[in-house]
Amino acid sequence: MRETLRVHMGWLHSWVGFLAGLLLACVFASGTLAVFDTEITQWMQPEVSLTQETSLTPTALQAAAQTIQAEEGKGLSAFLTLPSHRDPVLRVLHYDGYEFVGTALNSETGAVFPARETAGGQFFYNFHFSLRGGNQPGVQIVTFLGLCLMVAIGSGLVIHIKALWPDLILFRPFGARPRAWVDAHLIAGVLFLPFIAFMGYTGTAIHARVLLPAEPFFRSHTAAPHKKEKTAPKGRVLQAGPLPPPLAPLIAQARDILRSPDGNLVLFTPDEVHIFKSDAFGPFLTRDHVDFSRKDGHLLRSVTQSPPAVATMQLVRGLHYARYAPLPLRWLYFLSGLAATALAASGLVVFLMKRRRSSGEQFFFRVAEALTMTTVVGFPTATLGVFWANRCLPTALSGRAMMEIDLFFIVWGLCAAHALLLSLTRLAASGWRQQLGVLAGAGCGLPVLDLASRSHAWGQGASVFMAADALAFLTGLIALCALLKLREPAA
């Protein structure tokens, strides 16, 4: 075999793409869902009314301030998210080590919504950048995968640079199986290349410091040990502060200075109240804020100017997180994320198809097929499992949020075990069909379950429920089509 550059890069693309793609597909899929994290939380807390206005009353803010103080009494560092058009609810949240969870209050009366406990869309957001494994090793793994993605994109470009234009328009879904999958891989990769490369680059750049901290690997023994100040762990406070002053005038003053009319964040320290500009205000994810004294509410300082270097990073973060995006742009992010997921999933399938004839009987091939099945079918099944768990578990169950997440990993683990068992016993084809059948059932059945649970009204504000149910149904239909296609003899 001639060792041309193309052959060499093809080998790199195949192996880096396959090994990293097994997890990258899950990272892409969870990131795609995280675009609608707030809406998923709303679907998972149907008790929270979405029909109210975004106006805030002093009564509601007073109730929120009391809740904050109570949370601080428990050692939790709680903060407020003010109502916005996207989420017209006053929320008191705290960081539980993985997600931001808490209670939802009516922004007019201050009454607590008796909402079920759930991690909601925050779970997918957290999974996207850390696989729910914390900074070490979760974020490190995902950042490393980001670097692998960039290598795979670069090598893929070298392979296909001559045929970029035909790849863009050529799709033969009814062609022979490998051809159709390769076409799908190429069309997703070429058409959405700018989005995938940009998101891969920005995601890696944002968390690069976790993978490669700015500290020497080998410390000098003669250097004096660095004394650390005693600080509370993330999401906790060492001491509770006094009851905050009336928040309504502070918020009005801060909004005036920040020119941010809604959706602000309000953070509390024992001495100060920090009111931040809304993330939805623009593509720059600024941390502009106005600080007040927690004792008497007088203005301490305002930070509204960012130097160019800081502004660059704010733009990088803002464009990656897409919190600024209005609904149509959010859907575009979502569709592009789906394309990235399809790219990774089709790449995995193509890798297997190309090697089935030569290495199909080998142990490692069977393990690779089982892992692919776990990623391509098992992950969406486990994701739908979270939605099913949300509607099926009793609403008053304590530790409910954790149980939903546990169920996600249990379902995913079961899919992996099932795939391994059937692949190793040369029944991989049955494994694909059975898992696709379960996915089809879970997807198509979710709208029925949602309807049967009668957990919410189908009037105003029901678009969130309809969209989520429709997408689940569509996922089920796609799985069903794939299942029917798999039953046909190979062309």
């Binding site: 075999m1 001639r2 060792e3 041309t4 550059l5 193309r6 060499h8 890069m9 080998w11 790199l12 980001g146 670097l147 960039m150 290598v151 994109i153 670069g154 090598s155 070298v158 640079i161 001559k162 680059y201 920005t202 890696t204 750049a205 944002i206 968390h207 690069a208 410091r209 490669l212 901290p213 700015a214 500290e215 020497p216 690997f217 270097a309 800081v310 990073m313 990088v316």
Partner: protein, 110 residues
């Protein structure tokens, strides 16, 4: 597209080496090259991150953010170049030059 030949991979037919062995050798060579290139790229990236501490900003987070932006762009390029440039080992030489530059940037006064 440039084509690079590696002398030594294609052996004369007189030698009793099977095609399978040839393929295996090629894979081992590639794996070795990839491991060296990745190690060199990681070292360069680590040194760049250390160099960011010398940037004239007060905020440590900003320094590492900027270092992250450089690393996210440079690391894949170094791996691709190191893996692709086998004729006269120019890819590896490029990696060594980048690594040396990062070392010098840390040693020389600003």
């Amino acid at each position: 597209m440039s084509r690079t030949k590696t002398p030594g991979i294609t052996l004369p037919s007189a030698q009793p080496v099977t095609r399978k062995n040839q393929k295996r050798q090629a894979v081992f060579r590639r794996l070795g090259l990839l491991a060296v290139v990745c190690a060199l790229s990681f070292l360069t990236a680590h040194l760049i991150m250390l160099d960011t501490q010398r940037l004239p900003f007060e905020d440590m987070r900003l320094k590492t953010d900027l270092g992250g932006m450089v690393i996210a762009a440079l690391f894949p390029l170094l791996v691709l170049a190191g893996f692709a440039g086998r004729r006269h080992w120019w890819g590896l030489i490029l990696g060594l030059v980048a690594c040396g530059s990062a070392v010098l940037a840390g040693l020389l006064p600003l």
